[in-house]
């Protein structure tokens, strides 16, 4: 077996040193009834690289990759170009095969990268502090709700109907244990009025912008209304590239900003691994979940970085921890950070502008098709169209024509005739033309 360095002679010599006859003797504490022989496992024997690659490639070949076709799916995961440099750098052994940086003397690479990541996330969101990442956007949203309940010592969270439905379900699953969740009805294409729902028991209002239908929402009135009642505003961003073009939530009064960071540095990966961003106002840092890298000095007075404020975490506080989270999404955060370093201010704002202009172009062309109307007035790179019939059927028919046209809103439990469509810098003029032509044909 290519991954196992011990030879039969090695094993014999080691057993002799230990003073036992065979390896079974080392398993003597396992009850006899629980010892299963090899034959008890209906599993094949070891395989070489060639065979393994062949088998897994067959699985891969049965999927339609985003790069294979004109592609317009979004709704929480976006197809962007990731520079080759990113993947090369994250595969360096020292990043890929190191553990959580608990020994800072020999983990400065990871720690400094996380410190830089935190700085970038704070800048993008317009917030004061960010953590070193959480699992993904949806779990980060749940953590934000729990944090708001801790900070305000209030039980109720109000979720906008424009929040991605699977995010809503994730929040409800964990936050229902600690409080009450009220969700507003979805109103595709317009911002529902959440103000009447806010009362003196409200811990937070959670709103996504751009929302699941692509709508950019004005957050300031919500922030003011929440603050007037002593509640926090939690803003969710599922497309971080939007922050290159639109006013960041931090400048609109958000108290906690969470985001899905997949768009930068990370592939679609059929939904994971992704990377959750989590940024807050400075006064809340000790209530924030997840790991934090902080700057300090070493015994010789040189600048260095450590994991800090770790008493909030499970390995010290145990049943009093702010969250049960153990890992973050380190390597995905690194990919995010490297991609953003390559982009810089100039590249990132240009990327955002390209995304928006592609979407505007696509929206105009789709809107011109008889029976089709764009229902999202303000959007970044994603919008929703109303079709004369079932969007799920249309998507299947377009898939047969080699176009992945978007996510039917019905897949997330919304109306049957709505299609959520995203365009990014990866879409060419030909892609857009192919989509428009195919849609005209099936309608």
């Amino acid at each position: 077996m290519r991954y196992l360095p011990l030879t039969a002679d090695d094993r014999a010599a080691m057993l002799a040193k230990i003073g036992v006859k065979d390896v079974d003797a080392l398993f003597r504490d396992v009850p006899k009834s629980a010892q299963a022989p090899r034959e008890a496992f209906d599993l094949p024997d070891a395989k070489g690289e060639i065979e393994v690659e062949r088998i897994l490639s067959r699985f891969a070949a049965r999927n339609v990759a985003a790069s294979d076709v004109p592609f317009f799916c979004g709704a929480g995961a976006y197809k962007h170009h990731v520079p080759a440099t990113v993947d090369h750098l994250i595969q360096r052994s020292e990043f890929l095969t190191s553990y959580t940086p608990y020994q800072p003397e020999i983990s400065q690479g990871t720690l400094q990268a996380l410190f830089e990541f935190q700085t970038q996330v704070a800048a993008l969101t317009g917030m004061e502090v960010a953590n070193a990442s959480l699992y993904d956007g949806s779990t980060a949203t749940a953590e934000a709700v729990l944090m708001a309940m801790r900070v305000t010592k209030r039980p109720k969270a109000i979720l906008s109907g424009g929040l991605h439905k699977q995010y809503i379900e994730t929040v409800e699953t964990v936050a229902n244990l600690h409080g009450v969740i009220k969700r507003a009805m979805a109103s595709p294409g317009r911002a529902e009025d959440l103000l009447p729902l806010i009362d003196d028991q409200t811990a937070c209002v959670v709103v996504q912008s751009p929302d699941v239908f692509g709508l950019i929402r004005d957050l300031k009135p919500l922030a003011d209304a929440a603050h007037a009642k002593g509640a926090l505003l939690v803003v969710v961003v599922t497309e971080v590239v939007s922050l290159g073009l639109i006013t960041p939530p931090g400048e609109q009064g958000a108290d906690i900003v969470v985001a899905e960071g997949q768009s930068l540095g990370n592939g679609l990966n059929f939904g994971g691994p992704y990377v959750g961003l989590f940024a807050v106002r400075e006064k809340f840092i000790r209530q924030m979940p997840g790991r934090l890298a902080g700057q300090t000095v070493d015994a010789d007075g040189r600048r260095g970085f450590v994991l800090t404020l770790s008493t909030r975490e499970q390995h010290i506080r145990r049943d009093k921890a702010t969250s049960n989270i153990c890992t973050n999404s380190g390597l995905c955060a690194l990919a995010f950070s490297i991609h953003l370093s390559l982009l810089g201010e100039e590249g990132f704002t240009k990327l955002a502008a390209i995304n928006h202009s592609r979407a505007v172009e696509l929206a105009d062309k789709l809107n011109a098709i008889p029976g089709v109307s764009v229902i999202t007035p303000a959007f970044f790179n994603e919008f929703t169209i109303k079709l004369p019939r079932s969007a799920a059927e249309v998507v299947e028919e377009l898939a047969m024509k080699g176009v992945l046209a978007g996510v039917p809103a019905s897949r997330l439990g919304y109306a049957d005739d709505l299609l959520i469509v995203a365009a990014t810098e990866t879409n060419t003029d030909e892609d857009i033309a192919a989509f428009v032509k195919a849609l005209e044909e099936v309608l």
């Binding site: 000790r286 008493t311 909030r312 010290i316």
Partner: protein, 123 residues
């Protein structure tokens, strides 16, 4: 002015109806460098044994319990900016909060300084 101690390593110095509460030198030695203190706000009503404050060091976080019941009258605001005071003078500038004692009879369940020293020696 008498100081009483708990087996959870809090002290309370009583003047009239009011007590000043903090953690003992022994507690700070066990915790190491204190990095953060969360104190209760004035007006908070506590029962004896309630969680009143939180003290964090680099390696540990601990609750500080109310040695007696009563109403919090003041918290040591200096600690948020300078938690090192707890290590430097645990029974002086490093006090946590002041409490108006509801029932002074509860003090009789606490230890005297000598008793506490004996208690710590036996740990």
């Amino acid at each position: 002015m008498t100081t009483y101690y708990t087996d959870q390593h809090e002290w309370i110095r009583v003047e009239g109806d009011e007590g000043t509460v903090g953690i003992t030198g022994h507690a700070t030695e066990q915790l190491g460098d204190v990095v953060f203190v969360e104190t209760p706000s004035a007006g908070k009503v506590l029962k004896k044994g309630d969680e009143a404050a939180v003290v964090e060091s680099v390696k540990a976080a601990s609750e500080v319990y109310a040695p007696v019941g009563g109403t919090v009258t003041a918290a040591n605001e200096d600690l948020s900016g300078d938690p090192a005071k707890v290590n430097a003078a645990p029974e002086g500038d490093g006090w946590f909060f002041k409490i108006k004692i509801a029932d002074k009879a509860e003090l009789s369940q606490l230890m005297t300084e000598d008793k506490y020293k004996e208690f710590v020696a036996g740990l």
